[in-house]
């Protein structure tokens, strides 16, 4: 496959950093939430409670990154995810250049599926036949 056919269409959503991911996980679970709801849910589990402003900043950042959608109701902002969790994972997988393991290709590690060769259609069919023999 030549590099031209790489599916990079500018739609790859940005990666999530540590706290962003915790927040997104909570939002994916609840669908639409306010900052206060996220704070309450995460601070119960966290070893050290974080301030309201921290969550507010992170959710505003996720909104500007295009991962959340904001809806204002009175004085409260409600956020909902732009992608479902599965859709996000799929889109990220398409832009797989961001994968940590691929970034460090020069590290000697034993990876189950990163050899120098590629399966030809015939071998792929053989592997599919083997996989069905349960």
């Amino acid at each position: 496959m030549c590099p031209d056919s790489l599916d990079i269409d500018g739609q790859t959503p940005p990666p999530l950093h540590e706290l962003e991911e915790e927040v997104m996980e909570e939002i994916w679970r609840r669908h639409e939430v306010s900052v206060r709801e996220v704070m309450k849910a995460l601070n119960v589990r966290a070893s050290k409670a974080r301030a309201y402003t921290t969550y507010m900043t992170i959710m505003a950042r996720l909104d500007s990154k295009g991962l959340l959608e904001r809806r204002r109701e009175g004085k409260t902002d409600f956020y909902r995810p732009v992608y479902t969790r599965d859709r996000y994972t799929d889109l990220r997988a398409l832009g797989a250049i961001e994968s940590v393991v691929d970034q460090f290709g020069e590290v000697a590690l034993a990876h189950i599926a990163r050899q120098m060769a590629q399966l030809d259609p015939e071998h792929r069919r053989s592997l599919q036949r083997l996989a069905r023999k349960q």
Binding site: L6, A110, A113, Q128
Partner: protein, 328 residues
Amino acid sequence: MPANSRLSHRHVFTLALALGIGGLLLATAAVTTAIASVHHGSTDSRPVLVAGIHFTYPNLNFAAALLLALATTGATSIILGLRGSWRQLGSYRSLVDQIRVVEPLDKDPRVTVIADPLPQAFCAGYLHPRVYVSRRTVELLTKAELDAVLAHEHHHRRVRDPLRLAYARILSRALFFVPVLRSLSERYAEVAELSADHAAVRASAGEVAPLASALLAFDESGPPGAKGISPERVDALLGEPIDWRLPSLRLAASLGLLSGMGTLIWLISGAASAHATFNLPILSSQPCVIVLMTMVLLVVGVCIFGRPARRFEAFGTQLRRRIIDARS
């Protein structure tokens, strides 16, 4: 396939180990012999006048010149080896820093679950290797498939494959005068997977299906255009004999080169110590030559190890990204 692949697993690595140690010993011998044959004395060096400045150049015989060439080769190998090891350690540390650990795997705490958008399963670490799987892997695979994958990775962990792979890779680049090392290093990487696959099938009570369907899952969701499962692994799972022969010509050439170098060093060292009338350029009695050489070496060192090299690499990465962006 099993007995066959396990046999070559052991042999390929033992051969690479022996050749690597042999090559390193020779490289060290060349350097130490050259240093030992240096007899410092200003009377032995010859003066030369360049643009009004007095320089000296070493007075060396043919044997000494040959020994110097061998020593340069040896020193280059040693430096390449050290640089390779340093880089491996450095990039492994960065990998560990950047990996986001989610949790240990519930049913097997020796396995670390990491956040990664792709299905990943690998073994990393040199002295105490660990098995890593991405959360995507855990979500994607059935229990039987995951068990097969974990058995595969635990096999890598038990035999310390990351260390072996690093060793083979570093030495195959450092000992460029042993051409067979590169083939052996690449072969070891393949054979390590075959052996781990064999261990996975054994752990699934001889069933090939769980591993086969797990491999398909990894192969299908890998990054587009990336390399993946080698056809040879499918052949091995099908029970077909593995068709790999030792590159005997390259092995013979490598052994010839190594023994030739060894003999040469031994013979020349005798001749050089008998005459003992040369100075290495660095040890020339002219102090400014020493200063100049040190400065040149420093610049070379900084370019190889230091920032300019890293900046240059970063520039390359940036350029590649821009090209990809421009294309889309």
